[in-house]
Structures are given as C-alpha cells and as structure tokens.
C-alpha cells in the first residue's frame, strides 16, 4: 500500500482519500475497504471556520469549541466519539462514515455488500433503523450529518455544490451506495447557515463515546423549523412527515419512543 501526500488538488489522481483516519484505517484493517493507494488530503482540503464556511478538514474538536458555529452542530460534535477521536476526525470524514451495522462490519453478504438479504432484519437489530428499513435496516451513525441536515447546510466539492440532503441516497437493488459522491470527488467545504436557534439531543448506550441510538437535531431559521435524525435510517434522516410514519422492527420499537421524546424536547428547546 502506498501513501501519497499531494500538495495541490491538481495532483489528485485516484486512490482512497485519508484525513483523520479514524474510519478509513479500521475499514482497511478489517478488509472492508481495499486501497492500493492512500491519499493524505490534509494539505489540499481546507480546515478551519470562517463565519458560515467550515473547511471539510476541520476536526470535530475544533468545531465543538467555536462559538461561530450553530449550537446543533457544536453539540453534535461534542457528543460524537471520544476526545481522542474528535481531535483526529474531520467533519467531512464524519459525514462519509459507513454504518456500524455489525453484519456489514463482519462482511456478511448483506444487501449493502451487494447480497440478496438484510441479515439484521431477521437477526440482532437493536441498533438498527426505524425508517426506510425495508431493503436494508442499517442505521447511519453520523451525529454531525443530522445537525447539518437540520441546518440545511450546503456541500462544496471540487466539482459542484449541493444541499447536504443530496449527499445521501438510500441503497437500492440496482445501486447499493449510500452517498452520491463521484469517483475522485472530494468535499472541500460546508456552508452552514446561521440559525435563530438550534440543538442536538442524543441517546446512547452509555454516557459518552457511543454512536447514536437516536440523535435528534432541530434548527429554526426564519420561520421554518427543520428536524433531522441520526441512527434511525440507512442515511441521515430529514423528518418531513410524522414520526408515526416510522416502520420500526421488533427490536427497534424502543427507538421510536426515544425519538418522540427527544423530538418534543428539541422543539421545546428551539422555542
């Protein structure tokens, strides 16, 4: 395996991008990601916060500590992972992390891996989805994505700009991917609008350092309140209808109850 350290975007030529490494390294070690060439993008992806613009290479720790950032995003960063991981992990890496579904992580021939069934639906699925879980019941683990979705952030890549909702897609029979990034496309920056008020509430299996069982982000910008959830669907989930539209599995019914409680509390916090 080769490690390249390009100094400008023009030098990019294939390979697997590596920033904080907190997701890529474990995936490589477990054989879930194959890479002949790793590309350290630290020097070519912007880091730092300037008003509403957040560099893709900014660490979660830096975002958590910056008062310019809306509360929902700060709180999502604070509640994500452990201090060590937040010091290494970048915001774009966090958006692009894979599910923690144990069947996927153990390389079961599941639908996300191109197979013909979802092992979690019939198996152990207490951490799994309550929305859009018919084809694949995996849950998306990003706290940060839920916050950015509620804040209606925009993603700037080396090729285009689009609302963060368009970064994700539900896996289908024909296409099992959960993101829309093209090969060679890199997230460079996020545009995070200021919110009148926002918050992120998270339920975990322990007090700290766990992926969300349910995370609820809420933001009020102008007259509009948006709510998005983490840990409830194969992708970060923008709540457009009612939580009662959820389709929990037998082992995830409790998540709906938590989601409702956190949703109520988040709206109260928004005021």
């Amino acid at each position: 395996m080769k490690l390249l350290r390009p100094s400008s975007l023009d030098e990019l030529d294939g390979g697997v991008p590596l920033a904080g490494g907190t997701e890529v390294v474990p995936l490589l070690r477990d054989g879930l990601l194959a890479a002949d060439v790793l590309v350290d993008v630290g020097a070519v992806v912007p880091a730092g916060i300037d008003g509403t613009r957040v560099g893709a290479g900014t660490t979660l720790a830096a975002i958590a500590a910056d008062a310019q950032v809306p509360a929902a995003l700060r709180e999502a960063c604070t509640l994500a992972a452990s201090p060590q991981l937040r010091n290494m992990g970048t915001v774009a890496g966090n958006l692009l992390q894979a599910t923690r579904c144990w069947y996927w992580r153990l390389d079961y021939p599941c639908r996300l891996h191109g197979g013909d069934r979802c092992h979690a639906r019939d198996g152990e699925h207490r951490e799994h989805a309550i929305f859009a879980n018919d084809f694949c019941a995996s849950a998306h683990p990003s706290d940060v994505a839920a916050a950015l979705l509620a804040l209606d952030a925009a993603v700037h890549t080396n090729r285009r700009a689009f609302p963060i909702a368009e970064l994700y897609r539900l896996p289908t029979e024909d296409d099992r991917r959960t993101t829309t990034l093209e090969v060679g496309e890199l997230i460079l920056e996020l545009e995070v609008p200021a919110a009148d008020s926002s918050c992120y509430l998270k339920a975990m299996d322990r007090k700290r350092w766990a992926f969300p069982l349910v995370g609820v982000a809420a933001a009020r910008i102008g007259g509009t309140a948006r709510v998005a959830l983490a840990g409830v669907a194969p992708v970060p989930w923008l709540l457009e209808g009612s939580l009662d539209d959820a389709t929990p599995l037998p082992g995830t019914a409790y998540k709906l109850e938590i989601a409702k409680a956190l949703h109520r509390r988040a709206l109260t916090t928004l005021g």
């Binding site: 452990s82 144990w102 198996g123 007090k207 409790y254 409680a261």
Partner: protein, 748 residues
C-alpha cells in the same frame, strides 16, 4: 511441622476433597485495626515502574529471533472440517512453521463454536502469519448450531445437572402468606482484560520457557508439562506483570500450546497473542442464565420457601457455575429447592468471571426479595434483617466470622437517603434507592509458600512464585512482611511471577491471593525475624525486638539494624513460611451490602447510577487504598454488566456480532457514579495468622440487583433482564403502566 491432611478445598464455589500438605500456623494474632504498616494506605510499590512503562507485561516480551503466530479458527458455530490444505501457507513468505489439527491437543476438526482453533502458523511478522492463513484452502461441512439454552435443556444437551433440596418447599409455600414468582435473565458478558490472552514460548535446551499473562503460573506449568510430556521442572513459567484476567486466565489456553509447539518446530521463540477481536470471540465469557424463581414468606417477612430452576448457557465446554449459591446460602430459609442445568451449546465456552454464578444468582435472588418486600409492604432492608442467618443454612455449620448484620447497620445511613433522593424526582426523571446483599467465598487456602531473605543491607525481599493479577499483591505482601519484621515498608521488596524463582503459590482466583499468600509471607517474615533476633541476642545479649528498622533492647536502647546485619557480609538470613490450614468444620465466607441511587429518564429509558455505597466484610484489611480500588473496580465492572455490556450472537448462525469495543459497550469514566467504600475491617479470629479474606470479587456481586431494585423504587417498574438497556427500561416502564391500569380500582 508439615503434615498431610484430608480436607475440602474450595475455588469459586467448586469443592473437592483433597489431600493437602499443610504447615501449622502458630503465630500470635495481630490486634485488630491499623498497625504500623498493615491496615494503612500504601501506594503501589510498582506504581512508578508501571507508570514509566518499565514493568514487563507479556505483551512487552520481545525475545531475540521471536516469531509471531496466527491461529486459523472456525468461522462457523458448528462445522466439520472436510478438507484443509496448509501447503500454500507452509510456503508463504516469512512462514517458519505450521501446525494442524491432530498434531496438537486443542486444535480440532470438529468445531463446536465460532473461533474454535483449527491450525496455526508462525512467521517473521504477524501480518505474514495472518496472510499465510488466508492462503490455506479450507472446506467445511456446516452443521445446524444449537444456540438456545432452554432448548438444550429440553433436548438433554447438558454438560451437568445439579439438584439440591432442604426441607419441604411445597409445605413452605403452603405456609406462606405471600408468594412471588419471577423469571430473571442475565446476558453473556466478556472479561475484556486490557492485556489480551497471550504467551511467548522459547525452548532452551530441553527446557520450555513460557512467558504468559496468567492468574496461575503453577497451573500453566502443570498443563504445559502434561501436554508436552515433560517433567514439570523442565517448564518455567514467567508472569512478571499482567494486564488483568478476571477469571479468564486461570489455565494455559490453546494460545500457549500453539506458541510452544510452533517454537519447537521452528527452533525459535514464538509469540501467540490474541487480537481484541479474538478476545471477544473465544477467550471466555460470563455465560448467560435464565432463572425461574419462587419465594414464599409469612406476613412478617420470614421466608418459608425458596425455589429456583437455573439454566446456565455454558457454551460448548466449561463448567456450571453456582448460580443457585446465593439462594441456598444467603438467608435462613428452612425449605429450599434448586435445580441447575449446564446447557451445552454451539457458543464459545464460558470461563470463570469475577464471582462466577454468584453475580448472576444474586441478581435473581435479590430482585425477587425486593418484589416480595413490595408485596408484603415491608422495608427491603428490614426483610433481609429478618432472614439473617447465624449459621450456614445448608448444614448449620458455623461461620469462621460473619459481620453481615453490622454491614446492614452501617448501610442504614445510606438507605435513609432514599426519602430525599425520591423527593428530587421530576416529571420525567424519577429517582430511587435500592439495595442488595452479598455473599461469596474468598477464604483462600493452602498450599502456598513464601521466603523472606534479609541481607547485610538490612533490606528484606519476599520471594514467592505467586502472580499479581493486578490487585497490588507486591505491595500487600511487602506490607505484611514489613509489619512482622518491624521494618519500614521502603526496606521490603517482593519478587514474584516466576516458577523458577520462588516457592509454590495458589492461583489468583476466587479472591484468594491475599488470604492464601499473606499468611505465608507473614510466617516467612516471622521466621526471618526469629533468626535476626537470635543473632541479636548472641551479639548484644538479652531479649531484643525490632521496631521501625531498629533493634530495641529491653532497657530501651536502640541500635540501627544494619549494625548487626552488617556482620552478615555476603551471608543471608532466609526465613520460610507456609499457609496454614483453614479452620476445620467452619464455613469461611465474605459478606456485604450495597446501596445504589439511580435516576431514570422515564421518557428516554436512560438509567443513570448516581451513587453506590458499598459495605463489605472481608476480615482484616491490609491496604485500604488497594482495597478501595478493588471496590471501585468491581462496581464499575458491575455497572457495565448491569446497563450496557452484552455479547450478541446471530440467532440463526451463532456467530459473535459484538467483536469490537464500539459494538461491545464497556462503561467509560462518564458512567462512574460516586462510590462510597466502607470495610468492616474486623479480623477473622478463626482464619490464619492474618484474619484476612479476599476482596477481588465481593464488590461486583450485588451491583446489578442493587441498581435494579433502585430502578423499581424510582419507577415501580420491574426490570428482570440484563442489561437494562433503554429498550429494556422502556419495556419495563410500559408493563408497569399496564399493570397499574389493570390494578387500579374501577372508577366509581
């Protein structure tokens, strides 16, 4: 004088009748309470070495020319090897030796659990060894696994069955004013020692050196000697420091045999170390249980009957821990019946885990007692007091000592807090207090030996081939020897952890290291002191004693000890000591009580443990600092067991799903409540020259029940299944609401 006795030996509730070589224990007892060194807080003597990274753990052992082993394991819960071609592995880059099934005990073609070892290779690097295994051609006949413990019982797939009865349970239930019946479930949890299971083996001539992370260097020596048909003296086992065991490192383990055999074949040292993923797969676990329990009592709370059917989901092999122990032993109930089934399943084998059986059984029994208290409208602490027993209810044997009543008395001020705690409840967060009693073994026993060497520098070294599982054994033994010798603590050191350097010691399991080794260390120190004082009398005349490292004559004259000992030159004084027998006919047990305070968010199911007060009776406390560390560690591990830890397997194929530390949720420091530790610290006058029992296990025993009972106090919900995840908590709350609706008086 040494003599042979026929006696009952107990390790973690398993008894066997054995011949034992014992020495008499004729020392005077020390007075109760803190002495000069013993009973006073001492920082770990090896703390700086550990902090500086100078302490050598097995994971640090790097021998010249050392190779690295990787093990081919069954990827299926139940499968038969149809074909195994290791030729490609044999010729892969860096590979130095290969061993297959039928060539080494422990490696197998008939795999009864995922992770069962099949073959192994060693190579210049671990990565080469792993990659060579990936080249092996393996074909399997995959068979249907048996995964459900109740189904195993109904099919008769049992590793063992135990039945027990005293009195007449039917009559006891008939006499009861109130009967409660509940089913409790506990999950499988993993030891997760910081240092994974591992060994480094090297052949030196015809002697085998084994560096290993173990709780029992002598046990590993015996097992390895037998496996390789060697006289025991040709196996040397070394464990200078170890990164935890919790019961999972009592035996040699297949990794040790693999390293030894590959080292023999390759002619070079070999390291075989489990990865964290292998550790989660097949390094042992606390088995799951199902407990169907009944209790009956009179209106005043007097127990009339207890009965339990216990199913232990042991796994493919292992032993059936004494889950029924607390029901038989904790209370004065005349009518008790238990049946315990050890289910044989296609799951990784259990291994002892910090008070095996009693942790699980105490959860069931002590929750049942609180359900009974609620039904009888009695105070739970009072209910326990009313059923206190002065003698072992199984056979009326007396206890060597028991201060459970005093534990209850001291628990009162923590128990009284419940009114204030409950009053701090809000609409969404309910608070409550719960308690549970603790009973467990922990008396230790012979044989165990120590030597104390004193040189011309007036320093003493305790030499013994015990091991420090991590509890601070070096410091404890040094304190005991220093106290007996009259030396300051900084003049005593301890060497341990090497079967070639020092006498035999028992295993560090069953809370036994201090009660087994401590008396031997004291006896050896006393022997050395006798010799020193004998020399002192020859040199100065009259009777002398040693205080604070000085010789004190009858008239009060003080002389530095090195004035006398300096005369030794290169000579040494060697004291020897042995652990005496346990008191004949008496039951040696540990007792305690814990009071937990919790906050339950009834909308999100979040349980927060806010405070646990732990009061334990373990005889004399040698080092209060090390003791409180054991209490804190046991409680934290217990909180993980109660709230967040569970090893999950796929219900269809039996493969382990929680293999990494993000999926398997140990508590973090943020989950740790305020812990209040109180030890009774009254020496057991019947037990050895120290009167000390063990403390490694007692603190974890009552944690789950105390928390579950606090949750009931806070919310009225019965949680009967561990871990109490948010899902479990919300389910219990919903059931409680349903019950309330059902039982509410009809509207008028």
């Amino acid at each position: 004088m040494a003599r042979l006795i026929r006696t009952e030996k107990e390790v973690e509730g398993r008894y066997e009748e054995v011949w034992l070589l014992v020495d008499e224990d004729s020392l005077d007892r020390w007075p109760a309470g803190p002495l000069t060194v013993v009973g006073r807080a001492a920082a770990r003597l090896d703390g700086p070495a550990r902090a500086r990274g100078e302490a050598t753990f097995t994971a640090d052992v790097r021998l010249p020319g050392m190779l690295h082993a990787a093990v081919l394991r069954s990827p299926f819960a139940r499968a038969r090897l149809r074909r195994l071609d290791l030729d490609a592995a044999r010729t892969a880059p860096g590979v130095r030796a290969v061993v297959g099934p039928d060539e080494l005990g422990g490696l197998t073609r008939e795999c009864g659990f995922e992770g069962a070892p099949v073959a192994a290779v060693c190579a210049d690097t671990y990565e080469q060894a792993r990659s060579a295994l990936a080249d092996a051609r393996v074909e399997w006949d995959v068979l249907e696994p048996l995964l459900d413990a109740d189904e195993a019982v109904s099919r008769g797939e049992l590793l063992s069955t135990r039945e027990y009865e005293r009195g007449d349970v039917a009559r006891g239930l008939a006499e009861a004013d109130s009967v409660v019946e509940s089913t409790y479930r506990t999950q499988s949890v993993l030891h997760n020692a910081l240092e994974t299971h591992q060994s480094v083996c090297r052949w030196v001539g015809d002697t085998l050196e084994v560096y290993t992370s173990t709780q029992y260097v002598w046990g590993v020596r015996a097992e390895v000697a037998e496996a390789f048909h060697l006289p025991a003296d040709r196996v040397r086992v070394v464990c200078e420091y170890m990164g935890g065991g919790f019961g999972a490192k009592n035996g040699a383990g297949d990794y040790t045999l693999v390293a030894a055999e590959l080292a023999r074949r390759a002619g070079r040292p070999v390291r075989c170390a489990l990865t964290r993923r292998e550790e989660h797969l097949c390094a042992g676990n606390r088995n799951a249980t199902v407990q169907r329990l009944v209790a009956g009592a009179r209106a005043d709370g007097t127990l009339t009957a207890l009965a339990g059917d216990y199913v232990n989901a042991v796994g493919f092999s292992g032993w059936t821990a004494m889950t029924e122990g607390p029901m038989q032993m904790l209370y004065a109930c005349p009518n008790v019946r238990t049946a315990t089934y050890g289910a044989k399943l296609n799951l990784p084998p259990m291994k002892a885990f910090r008070a095996p059986g009693f942790v699980e059984g105490t959860f069931g029994l002590e929750c049942l007692l609180d359900e009974l208290a609620a039904k009888l409208d009695l105070d739970p602490l009072e209910l326990r007091r009313r059923n206190h027993t002065a003698a072992d209810p199984r056979d009326e044997r007396s206890y060597s000592s028991k201060h459970l009543a005093e534990c209850y008395r001291r628990a009162e001020r923590h128990w009284q807090r419940r009114h204030d705690v409950r009053a701090r409840s809000t609409e969404s967060v309910k608070r409550g207090v719960g308690m549970a009693s603790q009973i467990w073994f922990g008396g230790g026993g012979p044989p165990s030996y120590a030597w104390v060497r004193v040189g011309a520098d007036a320093r003493a070294t305790v030499v013994t081939a015990t091991q420090d599982i991590g509890t601070g054994t070096r410091t404890t033994l040094a304190q005991i020897a220093a106290e007996e010798l009259g030396f300051p603590l900084d003049r005593v050191s301890v060497t341990l952890g090497d079967t070639a350097h020092g006498p035999y010691s028992t295993l560090s399991a069953g809370s036994s290291t201090t009660p087994s080794m401590g008396p031997a260390a004291r006896a050896a120190a006393a022997d050395a002191k006798r010799q020193i004082l004998d020399l002192a009398t020859q040199r100065y005349g009259g009777e002398l004693r040693i205080e604070h490292g000085e010789l004190v004559a009858g008239d009060g004259t003080r002389r530095p000890l090195d004035e006398l000992l300096g005369l030794l030159g290169e000579g040494q004084i060697l004291g020897t000591g042995a652990r005496g027998p346990n008191p004949t006919g008496l039951e040696v047990l540990t007792f305690g009580v814990q009071v937990a305070e919790v906050a339950v968010d009834v909308e999100t199911g979040e349980v927060s443990v806010e405070r646990i007060a732990a009061i334990h009776d373990v005889g004399r406390v040698i080092n209060p600092l090390a003791a409180s560390s054991q209490v804190e560690g046991g409680i934290i591990q217990g909180i993980g067991h109660t709230l967040s830890e569970q090893r999950l397997v796929d219900p269809a194929d039996g493969r382990v799903l929680t293999r990494t530390l993000d999926a398997y949720k140990l508590p973090t420091i943020a989950d740790v409540p305020e812990i209040v530790c109180e030890l009774i610290d009254v020496p057991d006058e019947q037990l050895t020259n120290l009167g000390s029992k063990g403390l490694g296990e007692p603190p974890i025993v009552p944690v789950a029940a105390a928390i579950a009972n606090a949750i009931r106090d806070a919310t009225g919900a019965d949680v009967r299944s561990l871990p109490i995840t948010r899902g479990e908590m919300l389910l219990a709350l919903a059931e409680a609401r349903e019950r309330e609706k059902r039982e509410a008086p009809a509207a008028v």
